[in-house]
């Protein structure tokens, strides 16, 4: 990873110190591919119709944001948390409970500009508390505890009628209207998700190079050494959970606005695991991974049925396909699709000379 970034840095024209500093902080700005993808994403409403815009791209971006929070925890903090979707779902439920919805006996009817920050704050608190619980143990135990939290939340929403309205969930959740725009109509909603996803992406990218992110990566690699150096290991981990919870909460708010309803099915254990699959298939070492994984996942989920039927197979075996694909990725590539692509590029491109020198310079 650092090798490639070094190569990109070397390729920049010698310019002013400011430009070089910007380039070092945001290597994407120098990659033509990144500009191309950004351009395509911005002009997407001209290319794609409503179905593709919302069902494929907006859904991809939302799932990508939730998976991005897992990537942040797993990639930089070394903590694989299976409760990111639960936090997102909690935020979604809170939007429905605090804001306006069809279930007037449950919803408190606050305006969206009050309900949404409240939901995000509550989701962040919820995720931080869960994280504080999870960091009491290490490594593999984190998965077990976060999975237990996620599953407990699922069963809780199923059996609690007072707040979560049991297994029917909450329907016709109101979506925001302001500045004369209905933000749930296709094109504004697409730009809303794109904006949120871009902000989250660059925030994670920035954090990974900020002192906090570097310390977090140190904690991931060698917690005892970081503790000996005077860093508060647990505080860094809990802070990482807080940030990831906020990101997941954003994804959850967008998701509930997208579907306009939320039910225990949205926070089921299977859905929690889907987020892990998305992040792992995309690659958990870079923030772009979760978005690629989400795109693959959404495409498969949408088109696997037609695809399987075309080959004379049972169209309902989508989850089998997902599971096998996930197994294949775990078996053959430790870094998902991003890792596969990078190793392919490294094999095809002649080895760049002098990268070692530039890394020192």
């Amino acid at each position: 990873m650092s090798l490639i970034q070094g190569a990109q840095l070397q390729a920049t024209q010698p310019g002013s110190a400011v430009r070089r500093a910007i380039a070092r902080a945001w290597p994407e700005l120098n990659s033509p591919a990144a500009w191309l993808v950004a351009l395509i994403l911005v002009i997407m409403p001209l290319i794609a119709n409503g179905f593709f815009l919302i069902e494929i791209f907006a859904t991809t971006l939302i799932l990508g944001v939730i998976a991005l929070s897992l990537m942040f925890l797993a990639g930089y903090g070394g903590m694989v948390s299976l409760m990111q979707l639960t936090i997102a779902g909690f935020a979604g439920y809170m939007v429905a409970v605090i804001g306006v919805s069809g279930n007037a006996n449950i919803s408190m009817g606050w305006p969206w500009w009050l309900a949404t920050p409240m939901a995000l704050a509550l989701a962040t608190v919820f995720g931080t508390l869960g994280g504080a619980l999870a960091v009491r143990t290490e490594g593999i135990y984190t998965i077990m505890i976060t999975l237990a939290i996620g599953a407990a939340f699922y069963y809780f929403t199923n059996q609690n009628w007072a707040i979560f309205n049991g297994h029917t969930g909450i329907n016709t959740v109101a979506t925001p209207h302001f500045l004369g725009v209905n933000w749930r109509s296709d094109i504004p909603f697409y730009y809303l998700t794109l904006g949120v996803a871009a902000v989250c992406y660059f925030a994670v990218q920035y954090l990974s190079r900020a002192p906090f992110g570097l310390a977090l990566q140190g904690v991931r690699d060698n917690p005892r050494r970081m503790a000996a150096l005077g860093f508060n290991v647990n505080a860094h981990r809990v802070a990482a959970y807080a940030i990831a919870s906020f990101i997941a909460g954003l994804g959850g708010v967008l998701q509930v606005w997208n579907y306009r309803q939320i039910s225990p099915g949205s926070v089921s254990v299977g859905a929690c695991i889907d987020i892990l699959i998305i992040a792992v298939v995309g690659g958990i070492t870079r923030p772009i991974g979760p978005f690629i994984g989400a795109f693959i996942f959404v495409m498969l989920r949408t088109f696997a049925l037609d695809f399987l039927v075309k080959f004379g197979l049972d169209g309902n075996r989508f989850r089998l396909l997902i599971g096998l694909g996930f197994l294949a990725i775990v078996f053959w590539s430790s870094d998902g699709v991003v890792g596969l692509w990078e190793s392919w590029r490294r094999r095809n491109a002649p080895a760049p000379t002098g990268t070692n020198g530039s890394r020192h310079g």
Binding site: V80, L133, Y141, A148, G270, R319, L320, V330, S334
Partner: protein
């Protein structure tokens, strides 16, 4: 035990008082004031017995999980799928042959075989990579769940209880006293008691096998330090395969038990995976007595919770887990 009392006198006192109160609640005839406050004694006794027998089932599932984890550091998140597979196999056998006992044997063997195949083909290749193994088990659980949905559909199946176990039995526990002085005794389904006794027997047998036999010694040594054990010349891969087979087989047996006193359907795999996770987190990872204690605590909490605070029952279970993690992160009976 005496060391525990010396070290934590306050906790020991609280535990003793709690057990005494529970015993009094079970044995004594309730005064009318208590009945008015928390309902009939029969309801309470049924919930307690349901909780304990459910604990027996949880123990069967979780003991395999904790055994595999303790020795191989492999968090087998496909354990719920093994449970469900055992249930389906047991159902198929009991329908086909009509024999309830045979369904246990076949389910044990079939699921143990799956365990052996998994250990040899999958987990042996990625030894020491905890995270990757866990990811693989997640992938496997998805694949298994979908394959079983494909093969058995989304229906509910219940395994037929054999005739000699059908019907209630009178227990020597007084639920109430009639106005003219006759005591009313508790009626309870025989099959649940038999299954509970069987799971206690299995638990004791496992404890004896682990603590009194040579193989058990090897397994315990492996839990403590598998590298040194391998260095002393024990064929550790063989031990791994055996333990994985045993753990998986226990999950298969539990599937038949679960199919007998509840039912089996898609989604049960997740439920029992969650149960074994919580039981093992509460009891202590890798500890068989811990799994037993955790199973009884969680079973009781779930049943009492669903009787007295129905819409918040799962929260009780969860709070127990949080409490244990906060006070004793390694679990109640873990050694470390």
């Amino acid at each position: 035990m005496s060391r525990f009392i010396e070290r934590h006198p306050a906790w020991a006192l609280i535990t003793i008082i709690a057990i005494a109160v529970l015993l009094w609640l079970v044995v004594a005839v309730w005064p009318p004031g208590l009945e008015a406050a928390i309902g009939r004694k029969r309801v309470f006794l049924n919930a307690v017995l349901n909780g304990i027998t459910l604990g027996g089932l949880y123990f069967l599932v979780a003991s395999g999980f904790t055994l595999i984890f303790g020795l191989m550091r492999n968090v087998n998140l496909a354990h719920g799928s093994l449970y469900l597979f055992g249930g389906y196999v047991g159902y198929a056998i009991s329908v086909w042959t009509g024999s309830w006992v045979l369904s246990f044997v076949v389910a044990f063997l079939a699921v143990a075989l799956v365990g052996v195949v998994l250990q040899i083909l999958v987990f042996r290749r990625m030894e020491g990579q905890d995270l990757r193994q866990t990811m693989v088990t997640i992938g496997l659980s998805i694949v298994f769940a979908d394959l079983m949905l494909w093969a058995f559909g989304g229906d509910f199946y219940q395994i037929q209880t054999p005739n000699w176990l059908v019907g209630p039995i009178q227990l020597p526990l007084i639920t109430a006293v009639k106005s003219f002085g006759d005591p009313v005794y508790l009626q309870y389904p025989l099959v649940r008691l038999v299954i509970f006794v069987a799971s206690v027997v299995i638990g004791v047998a496992m404890w004896l096998a682990l603590n009194r036999t040579r193989v058990g010694m090897i397994v315990r040594a492996g839990v403590d330090d598998r590298d040194i054990l391998a260095a002393t010349g024990v064929r550790i891969q063989l031990v791994f395969v055996l333990v994985f087979a045993l753990g998986a087989g226990l999950a298969g047996i539990a599937g038949v038990v679960g199919g007998t006193f509840q039912s089996i359907s898609p989604g049960e795999d997740t439920r029992f995976l969650l149960a074994s996770l919580v039981v093992v987190i509460v009891g202590g990872m890798g500890s068989i007595p811990g799994a037993a204690l955790g199973a009884v605590i969680i079973g009781l909490a779930e049943q009492l919770g669903s009787v007295y605070i129905p819409t918040y029952a799962i929260v009780v279970t969860f709070l127990i887990m949080v409490l244990v993690l906060a006070l004793r992160p390694q679990g109640l009976l873990a050694r470390r």
